[in-house]
């Protein structure tokens, strides 16, 4: 029994909020440049969260706080499991559970805006969930393991076997990063639309907690992208950076779609993944 797995988990819990906040800062800067603006300072996301913790704690229902805390804990748990090299399926389920808590938090309040946001978050969950599970299945088919540590240690380039699965993941990442055209439950930019979706009734420190959970989430998802390129760390890091850049580009060049279109696109991505896996299984059976 080695203790190296613990190092990954602890490093994630400490460094992920810093990395996630920094990524958010870079994101806002690049977004501003794409729009011909100067943009906020690089550390703006940290100022924002710091500010939120300075504000008065207004609580609509006390249950809210519990659900938001559960959201943070399960997101952190999912990420820690992932970076500890744990079971990918368990990670995905913990990740989903976290979002269910966020939805419950939004439903705990009697506000129509909050409820619309919660409903839309559920739709998003339905849209991306099949694809995220297919990622785990696809990586298993290539590496014969559900354990992140073993998947990351495999020398075959998973991306060459799973191009469809990767493109599918890239599509649902747009939903997960809360970016246009699929930022229907809440958005980084549309601060006025249906007020602010799922985060409407959260304010001050509670909203700050959600933001920190979102940073954890970003780092975890980028880790998932990295697994496709894990055979070469340099290519892996470059691919992660390019994927995120592409997400920012899509965010700035597309308009928001309706929830029907978001759902269809999410399931189309899953279809892409399934076709990829079908071809892969046909090829491996033929080869054997």
């Amino acid at each position: 029994m080695t203790w190296t797995w613990l190092i990954g988990a602890v490093l994630f819990l400490i460094l992920a909020p810093l990395a996630g906040g920094l990524i958010a800062g870079i994101d806002r800067k690049i977004t501003a440049r794409m729009q011909g603006r100067v943009g906020p300072p690089l550390l703006q996301p940290f100022y924002d969260v710091g500010k939120l913790f300075e504000k008065e704690r207004v609580v609509v229902t006390t249950a809210q706080n519990f659900y938001v805390l559960a959201y943070l804990v399960f997101i952190a748990l999912a990420g820690a499991l992932f970076f500890a090299g744990g079971d990918l399926l368990l990670t995905v389920f913990a990740f989903t559970l976290a979002h269910v808590f966020l939805v419950l938090g939004a439903y705990a309040v009697h506000s129509p805006y909050s409820h619309i946001g919660a409903e839309r978050e559920l739709i998003q969950l339905m849209a991306y969930e099949p694809m995220v599970i297919l990622v785990a299945v696809g990586l298993y088919m290539v590496t014969n393991s559900f354990y992140v540590a073993e998947i990351a240690a495999v020398v075959v380039p998973a991306i060459l076997y799973l191009p469809g699965v990767f493109i599918g993941l890239a599509i649902v990442l747009t939903i997960k990063f809360r970016k246009s055209p699929f930022d229907i439950s809440t958005s980084h930019h549309a601060h006025q639309e249906i007020v602010k979706g799922i985060t409407t009734e959260f304010s001050g420190p509670t909203l700050g907690t959600i933001e920190i959970a979102h940073w954890y989430e970003t780092v975890f998802l980028l880790g998932l992208v990295y697994l496709f390129f894990a055979w070469n760390p340099v290519i892996g890091v470059v691919a992660v950076a390019l994927t995120y850049l592409a997400e920012i580009f899509v965010d700035n060049t597309t308009a928001r779609v309706r929830w029907q279109a978001a759902l269809k696109t999410g399931w189309f991505a899953a279809l892409l993944g399934i076709v990829n896996l079908a071809i892969l299984s046909y090829m491996t059976l033929g080869g054997a």
């Binding site: 806002r28 100067v38 943009g39 100022y47 500010k51 300075e54 602010k196 985060t199 304010s203």
Partner: protein, 157 residues
């Protein structure tokens, strides 16, 4: 950590049109355009009073939205400041004599900064917001002292 003032670096604004002619509102929105780009200062135009630190309000309040203005103000978590943009928000302006105009935002809620003009220029609005930041910071410091007092009272009790 909490002694550092993040509030000044990240003021989120709620913009409400309390029966303005739309002139000042266009100027408020102009502040967000690439020319002025107030996001440089961490300023975000939010649509939610629960996320806002500064209430930017234009126009003389009328009898119908008087309650709305009050409601918005009350939903904002402390510390909060109110900036009245344009002469109508300050005194009712040329609509002052109208049968339905209350006449100035300060008749309904406390106002911290008045930005004059018809319409107020974007530079003036940004100036007003910057002024509001120092008031916001003062209020935060006051809030912190109050919190400490209540904590001490709680300990001795």
């Amino acid at each position: 950590m909490s002694s550092m003032a993040f509030l000044k670096r990240s003021p989120w604004i709620l913009h409400y049109d309390a029966s303005s002619c739309n002139g000042c509102d266009i100027e408020v929105l102009a502040c967000l355009t690439p020319l002025y780009d107030v996001e440089r200062f961490g300023i975000i135009n939010t649509g939610n009073p629960k996320h806002a630190d500064i209430l930017l309000i234009t126009g003389g309040v009328n009898e119908q939205n008087r309650q709305v203005v009050k409601n918005l103000y009350e939903q904002m978590p402390e510390p909060r400041v109110v900036v009245a943009v344009g002469i109508c928000a300050a005194s009712g302006g040329i609509f002052r004599e109208c049968y339905n105009i209350v006449g100035g935002v300060d008749r309904v809620i406390p106002v911290d900064v008045y930005v004059p003009g018809c319409a107020a220029r974007p530079e003036q609005i940004i100036d007003g917001v910057v002024k509001a930041l120092s008031i916001l910071e003062e209020k935060r410091a006051k809030m912190k002292v109050m919190e400490q007092h209540s904590e001490e009272a709680g300990e001795t009790a």
